[in-house]
Symmetry: C2
Subunit: 246 residues, 2 copies
């Protein structure tokens, strides 16, 4: 199974997890990062996509996507993007999709810290409304409350502007739905919680779906463990012959 | 985008929905069925995989998978299988996987009437236990009860034997988990329900997840509408350049 050559944009926590999980699959790894990160991979400097890389994996930041995405499209290599929040910028999204059509790349946005996107993709054209409810302990908002408190209710763009720390989850869901009008976001401070609890409600002519996530943190506690593992699953699928849930 | 040539094994409800949804994508369709089904496609008789088909889609029955799967593997074409229940037969599964390794086919099992398999795939190696709870109105079991009644609790194999009508859902989930010991199944007669309600509980070292499905029937009321649409989404993904959710 060995043989995949990966170029990571961002050599931090996520790249470490991917390298650890995909030892059997990755033959060679490169990375670009503004700092030394101790990743067991060849550091590239200045930024360029190594010719012999098979795929490019962004796991750095929204800014890194915006800065380097067009260079990746020029490389014609398949591109996995974790910081989907970059596509909250509509002009950037349009330009990116236009250039993508002219390239031989395929772009993959792993499901990240949420799931059930298989349902959303299936019912996409038949959605009445999707609600994303982000519940966090009050201290995450720098407040103290003794009861469940609605911090925000509105559309996804507004939520992304006001709560940029949830930008990837909201934008990935929005990209899957493909229609801004159909996604409502609620953000709730909930003193009964020790960790975040994300919920997705899908109402459609196909059925009603409710996905509840109680994510534990990854070894780096700023990221849900589910997010890097969704990337690992996406990369693994590329080389599988028997794909379940597909 | 046109250009895909599809061979359907089974020309019934699911094939009709796929053809209707993927008009923009499917250039030519063939089908094999034991009866005339009125599908707008070239009927093949006796069974053979047409040379110029790009992909083979099984949407017939567990028996059809068992009967024709090895012919499809010989054709070296990618193979989408809806009747995953065929793989409840462990000997068949082993033989199939062995022959698959020697072929150039890739096999895709769409998520069918359930979702959240993106989560299951991501946390696969880190699962403590998954519980599949199938709730139906009592008349689905031919009984009358006035309160929630547990009809079955046990492992997936036993559930599949005793309730073969749920075989695809249970086997697809089992294939995603990859470990029989970790899947528990509960079947409940619930007089408060008008339609089926499927729930998946995932307990893992990555987090806890709970996916609740209230599926509406497809135009043919024996199938959840979600099942053919998950196949449509899988097929569409094949030709997409921007794939959200892995």
């Amino acid at each position: 199974m060995k043989g995949c050559k990966v170029f990571f944009i961002g050599g931090g926590n996520i790249a470490h997890i991917v390298l650890g999980e995909l030892k059997d699959l990755i033959e060679k790894a490169y990375y670009f990062d503004v700092k030394e990160t101790g990743l067991n991979a060849v550091k590239i400097e200045p930024f360029c996509v190594p010719d012999d890389a098979d795929i490019v994996v962004e796991c750095a930041s929204v800014d890194a996507v915006k800065k380097y995405a067009f260079d990746v499209l020029k490389s014609e290599k398949d591109f996995y993007i974790m910081s989907s929040g970059a596509f909250a910028d509509e002009d950037f999204l349009k330009e990116f999709l236009r250039k993508l059509q002219d390239s031989r790349c395929r772009v993959f946005i792993p499901s990240g810290a949420i799931g059930g996107l298989d349902i959303v993709n299936a019912v996409k054209d038949k959605i009445f409304e999707v609600t994303l409810v982000l519940r966090k302990p009050p201290k995450a908002f720098g407040i103290e409350v003794n009861f469940e408190t609605l911090i925000f209710e509105g559309n996804a763009c507004e939520a992304i502007k006001r709560f940029p720390q949830n930008v990837n989850v909201a934008v990935t869901l929005l990209l899957a739905i493909g229609n801004l009008e159909k996604l409502k976001v609620k953000i709730i401070a909930d003193p009964s919680l020790k960790m975040n609890k994300h919920e997705i409600f899908v109402d459609s002519s196909v059925g009603k779906y409710h996905i509840i996530h109680e994510n534990l943190p990854s070894p780096n506690p700023k990221t849900s463990y589910l997010a890097p593992l969704s990337l690992v699953a996406s990369l693994r699928k590329r080389y599988q012959k028997f794909i379940v849930g597909g």
